[in-house]
């Protein structure tokens, strides 16, 4: 498989230079390098600029409602464990309307990968502040600056029981690709906060702004990604320096591991036939 095998003929609708391209290319390369075939991958998209990627990425796809991609992906994975299920959603979508689903999916640890395109704005609706926007960020709906403190997706994911928690940057597509590969291979719920500059609406968190700040956790030989305390401490760093890489990983059981009825043949591959309910009627007789 090659990266091009995951590209449709539909022309991209992203702005030239959009941070989404870095994520898109890294994801396609990750899928190709893992030897996955388009028909064995189900990508579930949110609504927003990131979700529009549904048209130009060639896999099976579900374009969900705003905020609702994660439960859809969980349901699909429970029904067909053979699929590689990946969610691509924005930070407005995932950290705003979809926040509840995010926390509960982390708790449940279904074996899916969740990539949040973090550009700190609602770009498709012309640039309002997303929940990830830094406090004071000025936009159309918050002309005096956003009052709420920014959501920290990495810390939240760690607190809610994430078994794979990472952050990548669209300007460093190679590292992002490696993170995606590790996330897809991880057994359990993998979360990636993908920093991705919106070149049209966000004039603060630009490529340069990030390049001046990001450092890789991989460069620190002391960093132990199985240590949740260290991960928490690191996740709180944001400002002059911004860490990227895999913050934390453990191998706790997935949601399906707890369901003995899902052992063996994939649920949707079992024959669908009229079930004899006679034995079930005893308790009502």
């Amino acid at each position: 498989m090659k990266e091009a095998d995951f590209t449709t003929k539909y022309e991209s609708t992203w702005c030239p230079g959009c941070g989404n391209f870095g994520l898109w290319i890294a994801m396609k390369q990750a899928l190709a390098e893992l030897g996955l075939k388009p028909e064995n991958v189900l990508m579930v998209y949110g609504i927003g600029c990131s979700g529009n990627g549904v048209n130009f990425t060639k896999t099976y796809a579900w374009h969900s409602l705003h905020g609702r991609a994660v439960p859809t992906a969980v349901g699909a994975k429970l029904a067909n464990k053979e699929l590689t299920v990946i969610v691509m959603a924005g930070d407005g979508d995932g950290m705003g309307e979809g926040m509840g689903h995010f926390i509960h999916a982390l708790r449940g640890n279904a074996d899916i990968t969740y990539v949040v395109h973090d550009n700190k704005t609602y770009s498709l609706t012309t640039g309002q502040a997303a929940p990830t926007a830094n406090k004071g960020y000025k936009a159309k709906s918050t002309p005096e600056g956003i009052i709420e403190q920014a959501v920290n997706p990495v810390s939240l994911a760690l607190a809610a029981g994430g078994s794979f928690v990472a952050r990548g940057f669209a300007g460093q597509a190679d590292q992002l690709k490696e993170i995606f590969k590790a996330a897809i291979q991880h057994k359990g719920f993998s979360f990636i906060d993908a920093l991705q500059p919106c070149i049209t609406f966000n004039k603060i968190n630009t490529f340069k702004w990030y390049l001046d700040r990001v450092y890789s956790l991989d460069d620190n030989s002391e960093y132990n990604r199985t240590d949740i305390k260290q991960a928490f401490k690191e996740s709180l760093i944001w400002g002059k320096k911004i860490p990227v890489g895999i913050f934390y990983q453990n191998n706790r059981a997935t949601y399906s591991d707890h369901l003995p009825q899902l052992k063996g043949k994939t649920l949707i591959k079992r024959p669908v036939q009229v079930r004899n309910v006679a034995p079930l009627l005893k308790e009502f007789s």
Partner: protein, 575 residues
């Protein structure tokens, strides 16, 4: 005067008194004794205290309604005397706990004082007052303890031998007390008849069983009264049957999880009540646009908002018909009793996959939580229909596969993720035949029309409304859902001279609407009466919309209570 083979029995007290468990045991005793049962529970939304009642209607023919009148009332507390004593029929009796309850002078003649607390303690614990009362009632209605002993044994088996023995003792103490202290000339007499092959079940449980029979393998829900027992029942059998049953984080998560599963190929269903359905609404539209098969059950309660959480109402029909923005096809079904809930539960999954759209099932608290006796369900007549779901061999033969292909019947061949040669987007944006986002005018019209055509296709095989009574009668009563029970029970009690003049038309398939059939029936009727458990005649509105016929005579009830049989008999006699 004796009432042979008929009984209306009510036990009442605080939540936590074992009202419901006593009721179920009592029901099973009479089912085993060859009788038909319907039960009705009233309870406030709390766990301890409050005032709970459990009423059992026993008869020899199928029973599906509640009577206002009570033959035997069991008062476990004083509040029952205040709240329910006026329900006693002439000649009816109240069994009251002499140790705790005082009867007013007016009702002394109807009172049967039993030291329920003393006898229960004697058997091993005060909690068994309910079982003592069952024993006493059995003695009053000329039923022996043979069947009752077996039912009590089965009921307490899992709690250990001591508990079983104590309860058997309690049963006998109540029975003997009546035998010793009261003469046996009572108004009801229910000797053991020949047993039938019946089960005692609620419409929630039978709907779940119907769906299971129909190949359900994925159920998601968030607890909400009065739908929760579907979730509880399915969760209890999930591991044994090899299906996924998930209690999700909220109703929006519920429907989207089910959509994901269905998209992947599962036979999926979700269940909730009106409030939870309201949360699902945006995703209902997504179901329609992505043409994903899904069964959605709304067990109605009194609304709006939190409303009357534990009471019955039929006020969500117009909401179900209209819910979500935009236009997309849906099928709406309304079972009238436990048997219909089983049948439609199985059929709904077939319809969902055949027409690739949401199937909405409207039930309500009365039948969803009320047990009734029905013949043990059969499955040999059932079939699985997965519609135009492709297998890999069929898909291999298709060049340039189009998931949303514009077809004459509106239904497009369906591939599943994981299949070769079938890639497509299930898109919440308007899309072209492949699923790619497309906003062009011609494509929009083609896709809207294609989706709507699925209903025209279904309309060709739409089951007709059900007619009961004399099909040629000029007087027609129009009903849907759980009011079926009370209308049929009341009708049965009419003289045959009156019966001949009346027919009852039940709409089970609400949408698409059986326009021609309903129009014809109504046009041929001299008198029409609409009976609905809501305040604004929602079926009446639908009939007016689809046929232009406005039904003027309406019997509407919206106090959270079901229609009582007496009310309907009175109306039918005058009709």
């Amino acid at each position: 005067m004796k009432n042979k083979n008929k009984l209306s029995w009510k036990i009442a007290g605080e939540a936590g008194f074992g009202i419901k468990s006593a009721g179920i045991m009592f029901g099973k005793i009479f089912m085993k004794a060859g009788y038909e049962i319907f039960d009705y529970v009233e309870y406030p939304s709390l766990i301890r205290g409050g005032h709970n009642t459990f009423q059992l209607i026993v008869g020899t023919h199928s029973v599906n309604s509640v009577t206002k009148g009570v033959d035997i009332l069991v008062a476990l507390n004083q509040n029952t005397v205040y709240s329910n004593i006026t329900e006693l029929v002439p000649g009816g009796v109240v069994i009251y706990d002499k140790d705790k309850v005082k009867l007013t002078a007016k009702y002394k003649a109807q009172g049967i004082a039993i030291p329920l607390t003393t006898l229960a303690k004697q058997a091993g614990g005060e909690l068994m007052r309910n079982v003592v009362a069952i024993g006493a009632t059995l003695a009053l209605v000329d039923q022996d303890l043979k069947i009752a002993n077996q039912i009590v044994k089965n009921n307490f088996k899992r709690k250990g031998e001591k508990i079983v023995d104590n309860n058997l003792k309690a049963l006998k103490l109540g029975f003997d007390f009546i035998k010793k202290n009261f003469k046996q000339d009572f108004l009801c007499c229910l000797p053991t008849l020949e047993a039938k092959n019946n089960i005692l079940i609620t419409a929630n449980e039978s709907l779940a069983l119907g769906a299971l029979a129909g190949g359900l393998n994925f159920y998601v829900a968030y607890p909400m009264t009065p739908s929760s027992s579907i979730l509880h029942y399915l969760a209890s059998v999930a591991q044994k049957l090899g299906i996924v049953v998930k209690h999700a984080e909220d109703e929006i998560g519920v429907i989207n999880m089910a959509l994901g599963a269905s998209h992947a190929g599962a036979r999926a269903m979700v269940g909730t009540s009106g409030g939870g359905f309201a949360l699902m609404v945006e995703s209902l539209g997504l179901t329609g646009l992505t043409e994903t098969p899904l069964v959605i059950v709304n067990v109605q309660r009194g609304g709006p908002a939190t409303g009357l959480p534990t009471w019955t109402e039929q006020a969500d029909m117009q909401f179900m018909l209209r819910a979500a923005q935009g236009v997309f096809p849906r099928i709406v079904l309304a079972p009238g009793d436990a048997q219909e809930a089983f049948d439609l539960g199985a059929e709904a999954l077939n319809l969902a996959e055949t027409y690739q759209l949401p199937i909405l099932i409207l039930s309500d608290k009365l039948i969803a939580e009320g047990n009734s006796t029905v013949p043990a369900f059969k499955t040999n007549h059932l079939k699985i229909n997965r519609g135009k779901l492709l297998n890999q061999t069929q898909l291999n033969k298709i060049k340039g596969y189009k998931r949303y292909k514009v077809t004459n019947d509106g239904i497009s061949p369906r591939a599943l993720p994981g299949m070769k040669n079938g890639l497509f987007i299930a898109n919440s944006d308007e899309h072209n035949e492949y699923g790619f986002s497309e906003e062009g005018s011609a494509n929009r019209i083609a896709q809207v029309d294609k989706r709507q055509r699925k209903l025209d296709t279904f309309a060709k095989v739409l089951p007709e409304p059900i007619i009961y009574g004399n099909p040629k009668a000029k007087k027609t009563i129009v009903i849907w859902g759980s009011t079926k029970g009370v209308l049929l029970d009341a009708y049965t009690e009419l003289k045959s001279r009156q019966q001949k003049k009346i027919k009852i038309m039940q709409l089970q398939y609400i949408w698409p609407f059986a326009t021609d059939f309903v129009k014809q029936v109504l046009n041929k009727s001299r008198k029409v009466l609409l009976v609905e458990n809501n305040s604004n005649a929602q079926l009446g509105q639908l009939i007016a919309q689809e046929t232009g016929i406005i039904i003027k005579d309406k019997l509407l009830k919206y106090d959270g209570r079901p229609f009582y049989r007496e009310e309907i008999i009175k109306v039918l006699k005058k009709f």
